[in-house]
């Protein structure tokens, strides 16, 4: 799986979980908070994305991630390791 495919999964889940956001408007260098996500929204997006990608990373290891691109990198490291 490529990083772009992972970014696309995250974008789709952001669009599914937040109001008034279109996939094409999401910039991976930004944080989900920039799109109005609260902590519950972020948990939902991360959980749905991990489920779609069949990975499981402890939430405690994601605390320092600052934007969507960094989240995709972390996901990429864990593909196939569940």
């Amino acid at each position: 799986m490529t990083k772009q495919e992972i970014v696309d999964v995250i974008k789709k889940n952001i669009a599914d979980n937040l109001d008034d956001i279109d996939v094409k408007d999401i910039d991976p260098t930004k944080s989900m908070k920039d799109y109005g996500a609260n902590s519950l929204d972020i948990i939902e997006v991360v959980s749905c994305s991990m489920r779609d990608l069949d990975i499981r990373i402890p939430r405690s290891e994601l605390a320092d991630i600052g934007n969507i691109d960094q989240l995709a990198d972390k996901f990429l490291e864990n593909i196939g390791k569940k």
Partner: protein, 430 residues
């Protein structure tokens, strides 16, 4: 579990259940729970109290399975009212007259004259027009928010708001918008961003994991400027803050600027349940729509009988809260002298911040308990992963001997343990 250690996982990681059998727990959750390190951490949960939650009591230890006398720094019995002899007598009297259960929802058959009396007392105490009593503290917040807010509305809440407040918003269908903890610029930005909508600002008097206070005067100014009323959760401040014990609203001298005042009855009050106080029209409306009130059995009349006495005791003079604050000051001064990180606590809730090591957190908690101190660890996700901690609930019941014993154990185990660990714990933000 890929490359991560079992203790890096938490209950935050198993929300989704992919088992085909909906009546089965997730397979990896079962494997996680069976891991020896996780079992050791969970040994701290569900430990049995073998006597009342007093300052000195006895538990069946989860650490070694033995009965043990302990000094208790964890229970919420802040003012000792859960075990006050006058309160217990009032409970006995109420049981004799009314029995154990209200045996019905408040609208139908669950309202006794005790419920009416206590609700009136609380409304008067909080200087509001009316009061609703809930059977649980969690239910009080869920019911209140769900009863007030609707789809299309916006709840603007401090990011450290309690789970019950968050769940209330989810159930209401309103949009949840959080602002950075006690950050007034962020609160104003969020108020601006949702201009034109029905907005409610939700804050807590004392934040339960940090012990710091809401910046209520600043919140009140923004509330007025933007026309968004305040819902103030005084779970950890009622009966303790303010000259009359009415809470943080009174402490800041602006309780009239609080739209809805919420409180729990299980902490300083020493019983169980929750309540909200507010204007009579809104509460009359909420009696039809706050489901946690409308569709729950009314609080046990025996408990309400005890709570009436608890409120009388806590308001007839300031002796209990004076003792609580004297104990709090003594304890904090000593913890600070030991060089421990107690965050920005301004209350009887005192964190000792340990850092990101779950292993160290649970190891030292076990050592403290074996030495006779019951001080429970607070792990992620209840607090940030970088700031795992112990959370002291100070009580007016603790004697100087109890406090000194607890402090000696904390010094021997935590202060020395942290210094030895090499962790830069003083720079950790709560």
């Amino acid at each position: 579990m890929a490359d991560s250690k079992a203790t890096n996982y938490s209950l935050a990681d198993f929300h989704f259940n992919d088992s085909k059998d909906v009546l089965a727990a997730p397979a990896d959750f079962e494997a996680w729970m069976a891991h020896p390190d996780v079992k050791q951490a969970f040994a701290f949960f569900f430990q049995q109290f073998l006597a009342a939650p007093k300052a000195n009591t006895e538990i069946l230890s989860g650490v070694d399975g033995k009965r043990r006398r302990i000094v208790n720094l964890t229970s919420y019995n802040y003012l000792g009212l859960a075990t006050h002899p006058e309160v217990l007598q009032a409970v006995k009297d109420a049981v004799d007259q009314y029995g154990l259960s209200a045996s019905g929802a408040p609208l139908v058959s669950g309202t006794t004259d005790l419920h009416v009396k206590f609700a009136r007392m609380l409304a008067e105490f909080k200087q509001k027009e009316d009061c609703l009593l809930f059977s649980s503290g969690y239910g009080g917040n869920v019911g209140a928010i769900q009863g007030i807010m609707r789809k299309g509305d916006v709840v603007i809440m401090d990011e450290k708001g309690h789970k019950s407040l968050v769940d209330g918003v989810t159930l209401s269908g309103a949009r949840l918008v959080t602002f950075a903890h006690n950050d007034m610029n962020d609160l104003e930005a969020k108020l601006e961003a949702h201009k034109g909508k029905r907005r409610l600002i939700v804050v807590e008097g004392v934040y339960s994991m940090d012990g710091d206070l809401v910046k209520l005067p600043e919140v009140a100014a923004l509330s007025e400027k933007h026309g968004a009323p305040i819902f103030l959760d005084e779970a950890h401040s009622s009966l303790m803050f303010g000259a009359g014990g009415r809470g943080v609203g009174e402490h800041f001298g602006i309780e009239h600027k609080v739209g809805i005042s919420y409180g729990t009855l299980s902490k300083s009050f020493g019983g169980v349940g929750g309540f909200i106080c507010g204007n009579a029209g809104l509460l009359r409306y909420m009696r039809g729509y706050a489901s946690a009130w409308n569709f729950s059995c009314a609080p046990s009349p025996a408990v309400v009988g005890g709570l009436i006495k608890a409120l009388e005791i806590a308001t007839r003079d300031s002796s209990l809260r004076d003792k609580l604050w004297a104990n709090t000051k003594y304890f904090k001064d000593r913890l600070t002298t030991m060089g421990l990180n107690i965050g920005h606590s301004e209350s009887q809730v005192i964190p000792i911040i340990v850092g990101n090591s779950g292993e160290l957190l649970f190891k030292m908690a076990g050592e403290m308990q074996l030495a006779g101190l019951f001080l429970q660890p607070v792990d992620y996700p209840a607090v940030p992963a970088h700031a795992r901690r112990y959370r002291i609930s100070m009580s007016s019941q603790l004697t100087k001997e109890d406090l000194d014993m607890a402090l000696n154990i904390i010094e021997d185990v935590v202060a020395k343990g942290l210094k030895k660990s090499g962790i830069d714990y003083m720079s950790i933000k709560p």
